[in-house]
């Protein structure tokens, strides 16, 4: 089987199908649009599976490399390649796309083709970000994701969707424009190259590194999002349609963390060390403070949004303590958070489709009418609080272990999430699912249908599989993580 085109397929299959879906036109052809979109999403996932089976975790460097000159007069190449970290994220992304297409099956009834096409484009662009080995290519894909997400939030979102969409767009654009200037600067000091491999070898003074680090940091911190630039996320999540929230939480936030891993750390190792304390402080604030904020939310989606920020704080913490446990834990946490937060948003979507409210106060006693749903929801709530045996435990545990190595106090602060996370998730779960039946709407709720069961069931399987047997994930990561740490340990000051 020829392997050099697999990454191309992973990127362009969803985009090609997105175009096909768009071609179906108006809502009269909605069934056709849905069928094509599902085919595209499934096929898009299928073409990423050979990546996993063909990946050789023991090898250093990037695999499945593919390179073509792209803009020759600017020496930009269409360079693709993946390591263990990107591989897992690509799989997560393609998997989530399938779920999102199914989840929107009969919920979205207006402009169906545009809705589904947006998700397919988004999926392709994000795979592009994870595959790109050329800084400009990375940037183009990174930015291109904004357009479909802007449309998704703005067209199919809630009442305050315009505000949320514009805020989302401008916030993320601000950070990334400065990144562009930083990349142009790197292009000039590297004698005209956008290749990441060249950047990894490029000697840079500490001052230059620090400035570039700040530019990168603005882009990636907004995307993650880290405290205090997180304020766009709750707005975007609350207003976005269910599918939008799922993709946003499960994949898009990972773009920021991935940016730290792929660009900041290896290109700017010295600045990363200098700034690590600062980043760690912000991460711990996110973990502790945002965890407390989540506790008092009255809106289900907001609660999960804040929980996302808190969990992503773990990811940035794991990245910036610079040891194998922390970094591996961070990536595991990214994958697990992709499953869990996606699942939680889908659960909220299930409830919202029936009750048209997201307020916790409007619920209570849902278990009486939807026992199967309550069981699945329980699993995801447990995973969100980091119960051993679920995927949520693996990442958090590894990060805490790594943090202990760095400093006891980091670990102590981070570990509070095991308390707060359990507190806000389980308290929310208790108020929504248990107790007396709150009102007649809850009493007449219908159990989840086959489609919803399929989506949640797949995610539940993933959460359990990763929780009970994380070894395949960890093995894929080992070499890549060590490789990265070797880069970070090497000073680049000339």
């Amino acid at each position: 089987m020829p392997t050099e085109n697999l990454l191309n397929l992973a990127i362009w299959t969803p985009i090609a199908f997105g175009l096909l879906v768009l071609a179906t036109g108006s809502d009269r052809n909605a069934p056709a649009a849905r069928a094509i979109a599902l085919a595209g999403a499934v096929l898009g996932f299928a073409v990423t599976l050979p990546l996993y089976t063909g990946f050789r975790p023991e090898l250093n460097g990037f695999q499945f490399a593919y390179s073509q000159p792209w803009i020759e007069s600017f020496n930009v190449n269409y360079d693709l390649g993946i390591d263990g970290i990107s591989l897992l994220l690509i799989l997560l992304n393609s998997f989530t796309t399938v779920l999102v297409v199914i989840a929107g099956w009969d919920v979205i009834r207006t402009r169906v083709a545009q809705y589904l096409a947006s998700f397919l484009f988004l999926s392709g662009f994000m795979n592009g970000v994870f595959c790109a080995l050329d800084a400009l290519l990375f940037y183009v894909f990174f930015e291109a994701t904004l357009i479909p997400m802007f449309i998704i939030i703005g067209v199919w979102g809630g009442p305050n969707r315009v505000y949320a969409a514009v805020k989302f767009f401008l916030y993320t654009l601000l950070g990334s424009l400065l990144t562009l200037v930083a990349l142009i600067y790197l292009y000039n000091v590297s004698d005209g190259s956008f290749s990441l491999a060249d950047y990894y070898q490029l000697p840079l003074s500490l001052e230059a590194q620090t400035l570039i680090f700040i530019a990168f940091f603005l882009a990636f911190a907004v995307k993650v999002p880290m405290w205090p630039v997180h304020t766009w996320l709750p707005d975007a999540h609350v207003e976005a349609p269910t599918g939008g929230s799922v993709v946003l939480a499960a994949i898009m936030l990972k773009l920021g963390a991935y940016g730290f891993i792929r660009l900041s750390l290896p290109i700017l190792p010295d600045a990363s060390h200098v700034m690590a304390g600062f980043v760690i402080a912000l991460s711990l604030i996110a973990v502790v403070y945002i965890g407390l904020v989540a506790l008092v939310q009255a809106d289900l989606k907001k609660l999960i949004a804040y929980s996302s920020i808190s969990h992503m704080g773990f990811v940035t913490l794991g990245i910036f303590i610079f040891n194998a446990h922390g970094l591996e834990g961070a990536v595991m946490q990214m994958i697990s958070h992709g499953f869990v937060s996606g699942a939680l948003f889908l659960c909220v979507g299930v409830l919202y489709d029936r009750m048209h409210t997201r307020l916790i106060a409007d619920y209570g006693g849902v278990v009486n009418s939807m026992p199967v749903f309550a069981a699945l929801f329980m699993l995801f709530a447990m995973a969100n609080s980091g119960l051993p045996g679920t995927s949520g435990f693996v990442g958090e545990f590894l990060v805490v272990v790594g943090a202990v190595k760095a400093s006891f106090w980091y670990a102590a602060a981070a570990a509070t999430t095991l308390v707060f996370g359990a507190a806000y998730t389980l308290w929310m779960y208790k108020r929504v699912i248990f107790g007396a039946v709150a009102n007649e709407h809850v009493a007449t709720l219908t159990e989840i249908n086959v489609r919803e069961f399929l989506v949640l069931g797949l995610l539940a399987a993933a959460v359990l599989a990763m929780g009970l047997y994380p070894n395949p994930f960890a093995e894929t990561l080992h070499t890549s993580v060590n490789d990265l740490l070797a880069h970070v340990a090497q000073s680049k000051i000339p």
Binding site: E72, S73, R161, V166
Partner: protein
Amino acid sequence: MQYIQPLLPAYPELFLLGMTCMILIVDLFVSDDSRIVTYALTQLALGGCLVITWITSSAEVSYTFSGMFVDDLMSDVLKLTVYVAVMVMLVYSRPYVAVRGMLRGEFFTLALFATLGMMIMISANHLLTLYLGLELMSLALYSMVALQRDSTTATEAAMKYFVLGALASGMLLYGMSMLYGAAGTLEITRLAAIVVERGTTDLVLVFALVFIVAGLGFKLGAVPFHMWLPDVYHGAPTAVTLFIGTAPKLSAFAFIMRLLAQGLGADLLVQEWQQMLVVMAVLSLAVGNITAIAQTNLKRMLAYSTIGHMGFLLLGILAGDLVGYSAGMFYVVVYVLMSLGSFGMIMVLSRAGFEAENLEDFKGLNQRSPWYAFIMLLLMFSMAGVPPTAGFYAKLVVLQAAVYAGYVWLAVVAVLFSLIGAFYYLRLVKLMYFDAPEDSAPIAPRGDVHVLMSLNGLAVLFLGIFPGWLMAPCIEAIQRSFAG
């Protein structure tokens, strides 16, 4: 043949002049119903120019008219773009001017004379030729703005345009006369040689430079010489706004290249005009992008956005090296492409007695016509500089040139203002996609408009995915024309 052969570099201009005079006469015998004859002849003339320029194009630099006229690769590329822009402009505006009673011979002949003026500007190697081309273009444009005699806004716009244009021309002439006094020649290539000898110790040269840069600023619409631009863009019939907003920018770019880069490109003088351009660029970026937010009229908004774009263009030029010039050239060509599309869209949505020039008129376009909404989405994101559209690479090369020339802070300022700019482009996307339509009139442009409009939008996307296709010719043209 011996008299014809030396004129080879000016063949396109001579052909266009002949055709225009012929069209002027033919049109006398054409009734209003069969104006299509004039239209077809006009397109034919431009098409002919396209073929001639294409065939006679060579990488060599050649002169004619005793060195007053130059034909190099830069002029060829820019001229080809001008023809295409004017041809597209004519296609877009034909239905629009027809229902407004402006489909007369004058519209076409004036457009052709303006085009001729631009071509002469692009190929000028002599300050007089440069000025001749500029005035030929400007006078034709003034009258085109006033073509709708009964409209008070149009006549007011024409008046403003004329008075301020004349002022700018006066400044340019004054500067040029000082140059002549200092250097004793009007020929640009010789001027360059003399300037290198004399250096900046000559105060007259620096003085002349100030006037010339001010004049250029007027023509380009850069702050603080931008006051005419929004009023003219707003007051002129949209077809004419489209014309003013596209092809003349290419000739203005050539004008700057010839005067500043070629004539006054000596290292010491570059530093002098660099400072002025830095101020103009920053002010243009600031005023253009911030004021555009307050506009409710799309034509005015695009006028202010033009000012912002000119700031970006200056950013490339002020780098003062080949990298910067080719970046500027790429920028201006991409800008023309986006401008054609956005003004064209206003005309597509307009109909007899109705101007779709307010932002509100674009409400819910996605529900009225998803395809046109998508094209406008591409154009707006391209103007904002979001990949994968051509506008992103235009900004990228210009920023790269600025950083390469050592102006990192300027690049940071530019991206911050382009963030502000993104807001008002987004607003239009928001109106088209997120709001419900208020107007339910069907959008059914003529077949040729539909095809071109679609191509225009897709070109923005295509160049966003394969920018090398346009970037390579720009770099090549600048290298061949300026290196050495």
